[in-house]
Symmetry: C2
Subunit: 276 residues, 2 copies
């Protein structure tokens, strides 16, 4: 087992984790707390330009870790798929302006298509966005989602399926975001992480915890240590595979959003040091 994180130097928070805070407050609070990275959700730009958001973040000494999120490629019409590709190119432009090294892709799943058909359309959509991503210096990170999101959010529900798309398109600009919440149940996780390391596709690492009971499919995640995910073991696999990036805390929780956010941020820091 790897030792606990020695300090906060690799701790990153998603803006969605402390959703009640607007970007400016999140940035100043994170910086004051010693958090070193931030992943920006597009909704956090509000009326600020991505470039201005990036300046704000860097002026507080924080790194922009990634932009969330692109994706949602499958659609039951050619027009729908073309609009998705356009939207992803805009997302790449925003990431470039923000100074984010990559865009996280929640790949989508179209009702009326089989999951295999949706995955084919995902691969096709990514292929169409990749040249623009490369030209913009922005990488794309496929995030396999938990199978409970297969119907509407992502037909890519395993690391193996994400790797298959990376293997098909073979570009240094395409990789994978590993999220423990989505992947912890998968008996192949350790092997797939090792494979990704060898293939150079480990782009991001997201952490949170699985609560029992889970009362909402979307917004009932836990802070590290509140649930059953072997987060430190998985971090060990990711680091053995050569990952040197940030540990991104991505928690959606109505319960925690309703709590005092300053206290919650302090809890995240101690939970990170104790359980990540």
């Amino acid at each position: 087992m790897v030792p606990p994180p020695a300090d906060l130097s690799r701790l990153c928070l998603h803006t969605m984790t402390t959703r009640p805070w607007a970007l400016e407050e999140a940035v100043s609070r994170f910086a004051a707390a010693g958090v070193k990275g931030i992943t920006v959700w597009r909704s956090a730009f509000a009326d600020r330009s991505p470039a201005a958001a990036g300046e704000l973040i860097r002026s507080h000494g924080l790194s922009v870790v990634s932009l969330c999120r692109g994706g949602f490629f499958p659609a039951d019409s050619t027009g729908g798929r073309a609009r998705a590709v356009d939207e992803n190119r805009r997302c790449v432009d925003e990431a470039a302006a923000l100074g984010a090294p990559h865009v996280v892709l929640v790949c989508g799943s179209a009702p009326g298509l089989s999951l295999a058909e949706s995955r084919d359309q995902i691969a096709e959509g990514i292929a169409r966005v990749l040249p623009h991503a490369q030209a913009s210096g922005v990488r794309l990170a496929i995030e396999p989602l938990h199978p409970m999101y297969a119907a509407d959010r992502s037909a890519v529900v395993t690391m193996g399926q994400a790797r298959a798309i990376c293997g098909l398109l073979r570009s240094p600009w395409l990789g994978i975001a590993v999220d423990v919440y989505h992947t912890w149940w998968d008996e192949r996780l350790e092997d797939e992480i090792r494979n990704c390391g060898r293939e150079g596709t480990l782009f991001a690492f997201h952490i949170s915890d699985w609560l029992t009971p889970t009362t909402d499919l979307l917004e009932d995640r836990g802070v590290m240590g509140e649930g059953c995910i072997p987060i430190r073991r998985i971090r060990g696999w990711v680091e053995e595979a050569g990952f040197k990036g940030f540990h991104e805390v991505e928690i959606f929780s109505r319960r925690l959003w309703a709590s005092d956010q300053a206290r919650y941020l302090a809890d995240i820091k101690s939970a990170y040091l104790a359980h990540a």
Copy 2:
């Protein structure tokens, strides 16, 4: 694609599907509707003995398809695991008295154990119950559950993991219950069903549908056709693999339980003929 079911001769309902009805009402309503099979949840016995429940069911011309449910083998103490084995032996006794050819196993998952450790304990628990099952003429059917239940209900979350346990224990008294709700997302489903057919382990087939959005992890399933599961395609795989048993409608739904149950039963019949 296989043709729709020609009639109701293979339609079975779980007592939980129409939970508001006590066993006696369920049996008479199902029989009057032309349903031919019933799967009994242990909670449906109420103050009736399993043998009396079996007589009641057969007196209405219905087949007892299975007993739900045994399982929950993993525990963090030797005593806890022994109690689970005892409870499963009692469950086998009830199935024998009821006249159910098999017991469905929801295998369990222990907090504090890794999923792999839980699966080891599941295999060990089943091994300890199997001699009694065989002596009682009752088969055991492992039901792989959806990965969203991995934390608390079943560390067996794929057909492949269920097959691995069957392969380890190799007994004609041990097989698998395939539930489309739990398995539809799995890209290996078709292959695994074919493998099970070859290995003689396809014991049961459960149907319902996946709703979008799903508002509750446990009690928000849909009637066939309300959601996105390719039920008929999966039924085709199961039947090509040689399965000749009942199609068991197993729906947990607070919404549907709150509706008029006679109307709901009529809807299930037409949905079965249209979508199964």
